[in-house]
Symmetry: C2
Subunit: 134 residues, 2 copies
DNA sequence: ATGGGAATTTACGTTGACGTAACTCAGACG
DNA sequence: CGTCTGAGTTACGTCAACGTAAATTCCCAT
């Protein structure tokens, strides 16, 4: 299976369009845990799954720290239920934050659209006078 | 008219809920141009109008640099319609960015909710076994 | 004159997510 | 054996948008 292949740092960089620095940085921040064979890092299927989630999280505007916490939720097996419950709390908190953020964003979008109707009219009228002047 | 009153830095801070540091910072970044009477800054109606736009811009997620450019174009007023059109373009771009961001956010919210249903069941079942064990 | 309370300037600190040297080290190749 | 390539480590640099501290200056009331 090419699925559980092990990848070098370069293969990872090419596959996910990130720099080596970024991968090492993520490792330092305990977001990834590549195998350390001697000096080299070897990235497993698990690292790839985590990296995908990291990148997606970033697109959503999460901080790396928030992402780290969410990642812990993902690969929690049969841990202590207090831990699990705690993580669940965090996720809930994060969810309501996101919903609030979405609502603000929607409001901002509406406001901006409103603003733009202004400029639209302005442009139209200026276009008119420009045509008239020709 | 209290409309074209001149305001001190403190009055501005109170009126717009910003710190003096912020106002000086905006001046340094050439977003505001208060009159310098001796040492003191005096903010005119124009500065207030600009500040309002700055704060609104920030809510829309523009960077200060983007805002500065928009303000400059805005200032050109009805001079060049090309500038106005450019402003409109920028706003449109930002709008679609925001909408894309909102959509991604919504998707992320759904996904996170999905994840959480997982943890919910898990918590419930663990609670069961805990009760049973007592 | 003196103290108090603003406002000012200068300049270093902060946070997050890496970028960018600079230097070392380990294999691979000819 | 020398060199080239790729990977590694260490550590300082960057960018945004201010915060914060220190030292100074100003006007005004007591």
């Amino acid at each position: 299976m090419t699925d559980d292949r092990i990848m070098t740092i370069r293969e990872m960089c090419d596959a996910y369009d990130v720099t080596p620095r970024t991968l090492r940085f993520y490792e330092a921040k305990e977001l990834l845990f590549p195998i350390r064979e001697g000096q080299k890092r070897l990235f497993t299927k698990r690292d790839r799954a985590r990296l995908k989630l990291i990148l997606r999280g970033k697109r959503f505007g999460f901080s790396l720290e928030e992402i780290r916490q969410l990642l812990d939720l993902y690969d929690m097996g049969d841990q202590q239920q207090t831990q699990l419950a705690r993580t669940y709390e965090i996720a809930q908190q994060r969810l309501s934050d996101m919903e609030a953020q979405r609502d603000e964003l929607n409001q901002a979008i509406d406001e901006l659209k409103e603003q733009m109707r202004w400029g639209e009219k302005m442009l139209a009228s200026m276009d008119q006078s420009k045509r008239a002047a020709e």
